[in-house]
């Protein structure tokens, strides 16, 4: 396997852009990544585009206004992990020698779905009796609270931290901090969750340019290296299942730590999939940042906040930065690239050398999740 570098990274501010058509949401990120990378667009040999709700030919539609079609475009879908799946496929295509320079796009425009709760999986027997995504995570939260004594106030501190970080990020959908009282008092969505325990819906696009290690020096003096990119799907369980444990994340994390030789203690900065407040705590545990049941202690210690030992979701995470589903994985990677380059401004994790991104999603009955993608980058 050849070494692979990220040499370009760009995204727009996540938000609600109903007035933009899909392609116009997407191409500025692509243009930004190409320019950041210092490549000529004609050097891009292939494009991997992740989108969950974009409909057919998402990548081609984004590339068309830039005159960049005419190469293989592979549109990848894996619910919340769509963008990260595209990144992983592009990374391996270069590592294995197929291409030298590849573009990755993650994009979704959720405002085109008309608002309200995102549609669940069609034909899902749990959705058919009333399960929604917030309710699924609310059940995970309630069980976790029951088993480990987590209080709703403690749960709410996750959102307070997310919004505190997001306030430092000009690319975040929400850039206003919130108080514990505001989180506790927000209108209920799926108990114990109020509105501020749930990520917003929004529109977003992010893009990255990847290249083979042996050509990276032509474009940059500051490559960010890809140590590994793991993708897996959830195991189907028909009986009792411990929903306080993130099966798919735990298994995926084990695989990437083994593959890369990186251990949880080596990670300097991480973006994890906090679509709901409980998720960040569960993923601390599944990613090995702390032991089972001790996630809140880790949060409370400040270790995962700006200036801490292992800052998590410096971008604000999904709760504050926003969660344009198929774009999320790519947006996480853009953030970590910026962190490792030292370009993250007020939210910079000082001296970060190893970064991790994690996204997982796609509610589907009987599985922890449809997909989970974990990536480790380093300088």
């Amino acid at each position: 396997m050849r070494k692979v570098a990220v040499i370009g990274a760009s995204m727009g501010r996540i938000g609600r852009y109903p007035e933009l058509i899909f392609q116009d949401l997407g191409w500025p990120a692509v243009k930004g990544a190409i320019e950041d990378a210092g490549v000529d667009r004609k050097q891009i040999e292939a494009v991997y585009c992740g989108s969950a709700y974009g409909g057919r030919l998402a990548g081609q539609r984004v590339l068309r206004p830039l005159g960049m079609t005419g190469v293989p475009v592979i549109n990848c879908e894996n619910a919340c992990s769509s963008g990260a799946t595209a990144f992983r496929e592009a990374y391996l295509a270069i590592a294995e020698g197929r291409h030298d320079r590849v573009l990755v796009i993650g994009i979704d425009k959720l405002t085109m779905l008309g608002g309200g709760v995102l549609p669940g999986q069609p034909e899902d027997w749990e959705v058919d009796v009333g399960l929604t995504m917030p309710a699924l995570y609310a059940m995970r939260a309630r069980r976790y609270m029951h088993e480990f004594g987590l209080t709703r106030e403690q749960l709410s501190q996750v959102s307070v931290k997310a919004r505190r970080h997001g306030a430092l990020n000009p690319f975040a959908q929400y850039q206003k901090p919130v108080t514990l009282e505001e989180v506790m008092a927000a209108r209920p969505v799926a108990e114990p969750f109020g509105l501020l325990h749930c990520c917003p819906t929004g529109d977003g696009a992010a893009a990255l340019v990847l290249c083979a290690g042996d050509v990276a020096a032509q474009h940059t003096t500051k490559p960010v290296w890809i140590a590994g990119a793991e993708l897996t799907s959830g195991r189907f369980v028909t009986g009792y299942r411990d929903i306080t444990t993130a099966e798919i994340t735990q298994r995926g994390a084990g695989e990437i730590y083994e593959e890369t030789g990186v251990s949880p203690g080596d990670v300097d900065v991480a973006e994890v999939h906090d679509a709901f407040a409980i998720a960040e705590l569960m993923y601390y545990e599944a990613l090995g940042f702390c032991k089972k049941g001790e996630a809140y202690q880790l949060l409370e210690s400040g270790a995962t906040s700006v200036g801490g030992r292992i800052p998590v979701n410096m971008s604000g995470g999904l709760l504050s930065k926003g969660h344009p589903v198929g774009a999320t994985g790519a947006a996480q990677l853009v953030e970590v690239v910026w962190q490792l380059r030292g370009q993250a401004g007020a939210r910079q994790a000082e001296g970060a050398k190893v970064g991790l991104t994690h996204c997982t999603g796609g509610g589907i009955a009987g599985l922890d999740h449809g997909a989970c993608a974990i990536t480790i980058l380093n300088t």
Binding site: G116, V129, G130, P134, M139, R143, R187, T238
Partner: protein, 140 residues
């Protein structure tokens, strides 16, 4: 005894049966190949790939594994409502509405039992029924 009897409409087709006494039962699949009991009844066993799946009445009692009171519901669904995971005594986990869960939320692990009730009303005004669970009040 009129010609206007409306067939009950169920959220999950084939999921509700009845025992000898006429009491409702939640129906799952029993694999002829490996004995796995699964809800809802699959067309193929995910363990042994046997396509011989028999209807089986599942346990009517179980424990409340977790639940949530849903306020942000999908279009056409009355809210708030309580949705739960119930672990049946025979090893099957079922996602189901929790009867009276909004007004009287029970503790987790509480014993619950099966009832059948109205889930929501279809666009054409017909009630859609489903399995539901309610806390067990009497001793067993």
């Amino acid at each position: 005894m009129s010609a206007e009897v409306v067939e009950p409409r169920y959220a999950l087709a084939g999921s509700i049966g009845a025992d000898e006494a006429g009491e409702p039962r939640l129906m799952g699949g029993l694999c002829a190949g490996c004995g796995a009991k699964v809800f809802p009844k699959p067309k193929i066993c995910s363990s042994c790939w046997s396509t011989e799946q028999k209807d089986v009445a599942l346990a009517t009692r179980g424990r409340l594994y977790s639940f949530s009171v849903v306020h942000a519901a999908r279009k056409g669904w009355p809210s708030p409502y309580a949705i739960a995971y119930v672990d049946l005594e025979d090893g099957v986990r079922v996602c189901a509405p929790l009867e009276d869960g909004v007004a009287n939320p029970p503790p987790l692990d509480a014993p619950v039992e099966l009832i059948v009730g109205t889930l929501r009303t279809d666009a054409d005004g017909v009630a859609v029924l489903s399995h539901r669970f309610k806390p067990v009040t009497e001793a067993r």
